[in-house]
């Protein structure tokens, strides 16, 4: 015990110190999102591989599923369609228990086993509307009018039904001839209405074990949620949500009891339970969800929203208490990704919130307990087992870099006191009533008085206010007159102000024809007010000497401190003569000099 304490003191706990950078590839070139990263024990050897589905640097070109073993790339698999999400799942097949990988893209799920393509599951086709079928039957007959056909299709849409892709394509044709060609070429092909996947997740079937049979849960653009059985890919349960699902959070077991929280495009979160056919509205976000992490052990769910808020809702209790908001904090930056972080060895449940400011904030409830700098905004983040390390944080940033960080083993997360208090401050407790104190008699009286004699109060205030300004102006003027301006007044007018005494000394350096003339000015220590804006001018025979400047300015002559100016004097005379040079010190804007000096220059040596 002693030891760990003393270590804590000798090594100040820096944020970055909690994590060791195990791997960093700045040029990995990933373009991906959180659902496209997962880790799985692919070969059942206790060494989890990292799988990342890449959407291609150019969106839809060179899409790949990359598998990493530790720090090395194990394999790459070309994907045919834009990946939406990937998930490992266990099937009920003989042989070693190795997980299969489901890659959702378009309207299909591509299943890999032993990292070889194994099966392609396509979403069930949807019913094509009667009216649409009739319309196509009509248009295929001779002499049909394409405009009428177009109207018929539009009517189908107007009645709230969706069209098949073929009809939608037809409606996008712009010219008559284009439309005719389209009908001629594709008229005979069957009408199929296909929806696309929007989200994919996994749920254990009857046991919690890591390698237990896993069901696949998916959401579609058609507002359906399907739960698939992993061996034959039959739909075990289908459910409907009122809007298009975007992300899900699943807790529980399929055979026992489960709850799926579905965040939808209408900014609401719905819950689905075992045995329920349709969804129940539980949370209205009034914003879009960026991430949703249920923490069953804490009895709450964290939701990160696009309006920069991190919210926490209760998932316990009955009636109105269920899904009541526990707290909201507004963050300084937009949330870009979220991930739940469970550190089993510490018994900690955190949530990692990646923000636009290129940082990952680890929240323990409202408080921030750690911050990781990522260099660029994170686009995808996962926390979990990778390799043989349980607490690995994997993230991909906007610049395409891939980083793996590992939590140091001797860390605890409850020591950042200062951070906690500064960060948890802007808490808005919505829904809670404000406690408003009772009105006192004094308050009531005061309000009455203010209402009755508002104009008098205003006038009195204005009067006092002007008076203060007047006093301030008077003092200002007074100060101005007793300091700087004295001099000006003194010399211009016939005032009795003494001319402060300035002493002048001069030195000449050099042999010629160039000389440096150093003039030192000083005045006595108790000169008040100090002299300002002094001019040092020279007078000389211009056939003999030339000065670099006609005068020099000394902006301030500190009392008691000698101040030097140096000028360059050149002897221009061909004859070896010397002359005197007159130095005049005067105040600016004042005609009579304070002091003058005659300096006899030495004879210049000819070059």
């Amino acid at each position: 015990m002693e030891e760990s304490a003393s270590r804590g003191v000798s090594e100040p706990v820096l944020q970055a110190d909690r994590w060791l950078t195990a791997y960093h590839d700045r040029f990995a070139g990933f373009n991906t999102v959180t659902p496209n990263i997962c880790s799985a024990d692919l070969f059942a050897d206790g060494d989890n591989k990292l799988l990342i589905a890449d959407m291609g640097a150019e969106w839809g070109k060179n899409m790949q599923l990359r598998v990493y073993k530790g720090t090395s790339l194990l394999s790459e698999h070309t994907l045919v369609d834009l990946p939406l999400a990937i998930a490992p799942f266990y099937m009920n097949l003989p042989g070693p228990k190795t997980p299969a990988i489901a890659v959702a893209s378009g309207s299909s799920i591509y299943v890999y086993r032993n990292m070889r393509p194994f099966y392609k599951y396509t979403l069930p086709a949807l019913k094509v509307a009667e009216a649409e079928l009739e319309a196509w039957n009509m248009v295929l007959q001779e002499g049909s009018d394409l405009n009428v056909f177009r109207d018929l299709l539009v009517n189908v849409l107007a009645s709230g039904e969706s069209l098949s892709a073929k009809s939608e394509h037809f409606l996008t044709t712009s010219t008559m001839s284009e439309a005719e060609t389209f009908v001629r070429t594709y008229g005979d092909s069957p009408l199929r209405r296909q929806t696309v996947l929007t989200t994919l997740s996994a749920m254990k079937k009857s046991m919690h074990e890591e390698d237990a049979l896993t069901c696949i849960v998916l959401g579609t653009e058609n507002k359906d949620i399907y739960i698939l059985e992993p061996d034959a890919f039959t739909v075990l349960t289908s459910m409907v949500v009122p809007s298009i699902p975007v992300m899900m959070d699943i807790t529980g077991l399929f055979d026992v009891d489960y709850r799926i929280l579905v965040a939808c495009r209408d900014g609401c979160i719905y819950s689905l339970k075992r045995g329920q056919k349709s969804a129940k509205l539980c949370i209205e976000l009034h914003s879009q969800a960026v991430g949703i992490c249920a923490r069953p052990s804490l009895g709450c769910v964290y939701v990160g929203c696009m309006d920069r808020s991190l919210r926490c809702y209760s998932t316990q209790g009955k009636g109105p208490n269920k899904y009541a908001q526990l707290w909201t904090i507004s963050l300084d930056h937009a949330i870009v990704a979220m991930q739940s972080v469970t550190i089993k060895t510490l018994g900690l449940e955190l949530v990692a919130v990646c923000c636009q400011d290129s940082k990952i904030y680890f929240h323990k409830e409202k408080a921030v307990v750690d911050i990781v700098d990522t260099g660029a905004p994170v686009t995808a983040v996962r926390f979990g087992r990778f390799g043989r390390e349980d607490n690995a944080l994997v993230f991909v940033t906007k610049s395409g870099a891939l980083t793996v960080k590992i939590l140091r083993r001797n860390q605890t997360f409850d020591t950042i006191g200062s951070l906690e208090s500064s960060k948890s401050a802007p808490a808005i407790t919505a829904g809670n009533k404000f406690i408003i104190p009772k009105k006192t008699k004094l308050f009531v009286d005061q309000t009455m008085r203010e209402r009755e004699s508002a104009s008098i109060m205003h006038r009195v205030f204005q009067q006092d206010f002007h008076r203060i300004r007047l006093i301030a102006a008077r003092h200002y003027l007074n100060t101005m007159q007793t300091t700087g301006n004295t001099q000006v007044r003194g010399f211009n007018g016939a005032d009795e102000t003494k001319i402060p005494e300035v002493r002048i000394t001069a030195r000449v350096q050099g042999l010629g024809p160039e000389f440096a003339l150093i003039i030192t000015l000083s005045c006595s220590e108790n000169t008040f007010p100090p002299l300002r804006n002094l001019l040092v001018a020279y007078s000389y025979d211009s056939s003999i000497y030339r000065c670099e400047r006609a005068y020099r300015c000394v902006p301030y002559l500190p009392p008691g401190l000698p101040t030097s100016v140096s000028i360059r004097v050149t002897c221009v005379s061909e004859l070896c003569v010397s002359d005197t040079l007159k130095v005049i010190v005067a105040l600016k804007d004042c005609s009579s000099p304070i002091v003058t000096a005659l300096i006899s220059m030495p004879v210049a040596q000819s070059v």
Binding site: S4, R7, L20, G70, T71, T345, L346, G387, R388
Partner: protein, 188 residues
């Protein structure tokens, strides 16, 4: 296999006890290396009950060997750090195929070196860059570089590649360690 014969004989003459720690992350091959020490005729293996971490201890005459995983967080560290104080030598086993966790090994090594029971004592450290037979194994030079051993000048240390399964490289390392321990004990 009496890999530490000379040391054992030395200890006997000197009537001294010595203990050697075998440490490393999980799966690095500690148990596999320890198996080489277990002389068939004197198997006195004590099994310490698992309290969040497991320690394997056995004795060859006057020499104690203790091995444990450097895994787990905070709480249990104190339990195994307790063994540091009477260690005369340390065998640090590294899985040289686990490039990902090399930082973790480095971190653990730094913590070990800074520990009060190790810091100011002369304890020789033997590093086994284990699993050298595997394809993606890092060379012992790379491992020592990754761990920053080049700048470790407060302790005498030695690194060698090993294959714990066949015993390759294990003898060479142990000879060095025996010498160092004998040197230290004679000086005291």
């Amino acid at each position: 296999m009496g890999l530490l014969d000379r040391l054992v004989v030395f200890l006997k003459i000197k009537k001294r006890q010595a203990s050697v720690l075998v440490v490393g992350l999980d799966n690095s091959g500690k148990s596999t290396i320890l198996n080489h020490f277990k002389p068939d005729e004197q198997k006195s293996i004590e099994i310490v009950p698992t309290i969040g971490f497991s320690v394997e201890t056995f004795k060859i005459k006057n020499l104690n060997l203790t091995a444990f995983d450097m895994s787990g967080q905070g709480r249990y560290r104190n339990l195994w750090e307790h063994y540091y104080q009477d260690a005369q030598g340390i065998i640090f086993v590294i899985d040289s195929t686990d490039a990902l966790r090399m930082v973790v090994v480095k971190d653990e090594l730094e913590l070990l070196l800074q520990h009060k029971d190790i810091k100011n004592r002369s304890v020789p450290i033997l590093f086994f860059a284990n699993k050298m037979d595997l394809r993606d194994a890092l060379s012992s030079v790379k491992v020592s570089h990754a761990l920053g051993l080049d700048s470790l000048c407060t302790k005498s240390w030695h690194i060698c590649s090993s294959n714990a399964v066949t015993g390759e490289g294990v003898r060479e390392g142990l000879e060095w360690l025996s010498e160092q321990i004998q040197l230290n004990l004679s000086n005291n």
